[in-house]
């Protein structure tokens, strides 16, 4: 018995991410143990090619980003930098096999990368999916539009993949051949593939209590990441741009404003704990920090609420607009506007307060990442480390 527990502990420790890692879009839940404070400044910045919106992914001392460049953004880049110095470690350039048409505001390199701590995975709007080890060795690749010829969106796709239970959950939802797939991280082959609502959708899956939760305009569907079988469904509709966030036993979904859901083991649908229509996440997704839930609406107002009841707290007008989602550490929220203004919010201030700003002076549509007390964010042309 003791030996079994010991082995189980080793297994868990061996596969658990290092505390400082930020392995996917919005990390584990949009928060980290620590982040830059009021005296924050740019520690380094480095040039990026072409265009890209995806968040940096941090594994140990490495930062990974994707980019797309060239005519019709057919060149797809995966880049690795030293998190300490910003020095480029490696870059791989591949060619899009799917369609690269997208709205001019977004880019083919819109989805954020994902990592399981040993490998990194890059999904592009062209539905190309690449897997590398941390040293840049190509492990496998897929052309998902080659496989499923109507899986594309002429406005562009931006949903980010996610590792759940060791499986790479890949969203490819659109008006036509819409699906989500669970992909074997070692081989790139499908473990499962689900038809999804035929509706353009830019939200990203989240993990909640071991399940992969897929969001679409129809609502939320939780699936077993190993098999794709449905665990529960919430069918009262949801947003197609901001994603949900998991915190404890609850999921806060951008649905009719903001709706708190409590999935119940063995039940086909979660319980609805509360709903506040006035808290309406805009493009960015909500985040839970320090016992409060936060969301930025389309007017650039940061809304605070009690996650247990939905009771509204303070509202703070930020300098927007925002495409990226806020992330948090400790008592601070970090939001980067489209104009490139990083705003660090002190959530302990009576009405919330912007404690510090850094003007990065470039268009930023990316959600920042947090690791080891630093914030990483990118524009099309630049990757920054701020601390």
């Amino acid at each position: 018995m003791h030996r079994t527990l010991f082995l189980l502990a080793c297994l868990l420790l061996g596969t658990a991410p290092a505390q400082a890692d930020w392995l996917n879009f919005r990390g584990t839940d949009g928060t980290a143990p620590s982040g830059p404070g009021p005296g924050a400044a740019v520690k380094w910045k480095t040039a990026l090619p072409g265009r890209g919106l995806g968040s940096p992914v941090v594994v140990g001392d490495r930062v990974f980003v994707s980019a797309s460049s060239g005519p019709r953004q057919r060149r797809l880049h995966v880049l690795c930098f030293s998190a300490t110095t910003g020095e480029k470690q490696w870059e791989r350039v591949l060619q899009a096999t799917g369609r690269t048409m997208c709205h001019e505001k977004t880019a083919v390199a819109a989805p954020s990368m994902a990592s399981d701590g040993q490998r990194v995975f890059a999904l592009f709007s062209s539905n190309d999916l690449f897997a590398f080890d941390l040293d840049g060795n190509l492990l496998w690749l897929r052309g998902l539009t080659l496989d499923y010829t109507n899986a594309s969106n002429s406005l562009g796709m931006a949903a980010s993949p996610l590792i759940v239970g060791g499986v790479l959950v890949v969203p490819s939802e659109n008006d036509s051949e819409s699906f989500a797939a669970g992909i074997d991280v070692k081989t790139g082959r499908n473990l499962w593939k689900l038809d999804r609502p035929k509706l353009a959708n830019w939200t990203s899956p989240i993990a909640h209590q071991g399940a992969a939760v897929l969001q679409s305009g129809k609502g939320l569907t939780a699936v077993d990441p190993m098999t794709g079988s449905t665990l529960w469904e919430y069918s009262d509709g949801a947003a197609t741009i901001p994603s949900s966030v998991s915190s404890g036993e609850l999921i806060f979904a951008p649905s009719h404003g903001l709706t708190a859901l409590r999935p119940r083991p063995g039940q086909p649908a979660p319980a609805q704990e509360w709903r506040v229509e006035q808290i309406n996440p805009g493009t960015g997704s909500p985040v839970v920090l320090g016992g409060k839930v936060y969301a930025i609406n389309n007017a650039g107002v940061l809304n605070q609420a009690d996650p247990a009841t939905g009771e509204r707290g303070w509202r703070l007008r930020l300098d927007g607009p925002f495409s990226g989602s806020p992330v948090g550490a400790g008592t601070r929220l970090y939001a980067v506007s489209e104009k490139g203004l990083l705003q660090i919010v002190d959530t302990t201030a009576e009405e919330g307060a912007v404690a510090h700003t850094i003007d990065l002076a470039e268009t930023i549509l990316c959600t920042p990442s947090l690791s080891s007390g630093a914030l990483f964010v990118r524009s099309d042309a630049t990757l920054w480390r701020i601390e």
Binding site: R92, V93, R99, N137, G143, S154, S176
Partner: protein
């Protein structure tokens, strides 16, 4: 578009001899490249053969820079997935050699680049390597690619011509500027460069034949409106799909008879706009038919751009369809590989308009062109 993505066949004897599967060592060094390249070329749909490819890739990526021409040659005839495996290997070999200060086989790569029998993607990769290692050498080759089968290789030369035209215009040499811009227009194959050249020519008082340059088909017969209520028209087989008869007439539910009517596009970029003859109507399906007279049987590409749901048939065979509405449209939005028969070839387009009422959903139109794989318009004039 269902591209033909088959698992690559077992290497032929010619391939084996070329890549050392008979035991000969490739000139690139001691490493046996043949089986490694074969493993990469064998990848297929849905991750098929990925494991073997990963193992081979790691070995191949460790090859010396002298292996680059061999690696690039393996892109010839490779499927798009295999090309990416090979592309990543070539990039890794190049980066490592450059980081170590080792020379690259630039003469061999230049010869490879200038050999138009190689796959366009392989030649562009050679160009990228040369440009990275020896920018002046690459710059010196630029103007030699203005009529190249690889559209990407034309781009730098077209850019340079447009810049020259701009400089001539700035020095008030208007006619010379227009001549150079026309040269750029003729060479351009991508929409962004074509548009720049067209806009500049129009400002200079010239009238570029955009439709002819692109191979846009302007003369059609149109038939509408059938119902697309609840968007069911896309999947519902309608009479013209079952039998194309340009002399036929069809009853609408109210008893009105509709017939095919001629339509010639006067749009600069060849938009076939159903709103013009039929008005801004919603939840409808229209058909457009034309005939293209090919002087010989040949492979080609049918390229279509539209923001409406659509299907297209060639000689009564359904090529592809897509049920997406109002997410944007552009030239060459979809490229379909086709085989033209010698003589008349019938093209039928089904174009669906849905129920949305926003101002940006009024478009009910498409543009369609025939070209070769380089984007060069097919020469034959359409026949009616």
């Amino acid at each position: 578009m269902k591209r033909l993505l088959r698992r690559a066949p077992a290497p032929s004897l010619a391939f084996a001899l070329a890549f050392g599967l008979t035991g000969l060592t490739a000139q690139a060094g001691d490493q046996e490249l043949g089986p490694l390249l074969a493993a990469l070329r064998a990848v297929g749909p849905e991750g098929a053969a990925n494991e073997a490819a990963a193992a081979a890739w790691k070995d191949l990526a460790g090859a010396p820079a002298s292996a680059l021409p061999t690696v690039l040659q393996a892109l010839d005839g490779a499927n798009p997935l295999a090309q990416n495996w090979l592309r990543a290997a070539a990039g890794t070999i190049t980066d490592r050699a450059l980081a170590a200060g080792q020379p690259l086989p630039l003469d061999a790569l230049t010869s490879f680049l200038q050999d138009t029998t190689h796959a366009p993607g392989a030649r562009v990769l050679a160009w990228d390597v040369i440009r990275t290692a020896d920018a002046p050498r690459a710059e010196g080759l630029t103007m030699g690619f203005l009529e190249d089968p690889a559209a990407d290789l034309r781009r730098p030369g077209v850019t340079r011509l447009l810049e020259q035209a701009g400089a001539l215009l700035a020095s008030k040499q208007k006619d010379q500027a227009a001549d150079v811009t026309e040269k750029a227009f003729r060479a351009a194959r991508d929409e962004d460069q074509i548009t720049l050249a067209v806009d500049q020519l129009k400002e200079l008082g010239r009238s570029p034949d955009v439709a002819g340059h692109l191979g846009l088909l302007l003369e059609w017969k149109l038939l509408a409106p059938f119902s697309n209520a609840q968007r069911t028209g896309f999947d519902t087989p309608l009479p013209p799909e079952e039998k194309l008869d340009l002399a036929a007439s069809y009853p609408l539910p109210d008893g009105t008879m509709i017939t095919w009517q001629p339509f010639r596009s006067t749009d600069l970029y060849g938009q076939i706009d159903f709103n013009k003859p039929y008005g801004l109507i919603k939840e409808v399906v229209g058909f457009a038919a034309t005939t293209y007279d090919a002087p010989e049987a040949r492979d080609a590409e049918l390229r279509i751009g539209t923001g409406n749901a659509w299907k297209v048939w060639l000689n009564d065979r359904l090529l592809f369809g897509r049920d997406e509405y109002h997410r944007g449209s552009r030239l060459d939005q979809y490229s379909l590989p086709i085989r033209l028969e010698k003589g008349p070839n019938t093209i039928l387009v089904k174009l669906c308009q849905n129920e949305q009422t926003e101002t940006w959903t009024v478009d009910w139109r498409f543009q369609l062109r025939l070209c070769d794989s380089t984007g060069t318009a097919l020469a034959a004039a359409p026949a009616q």
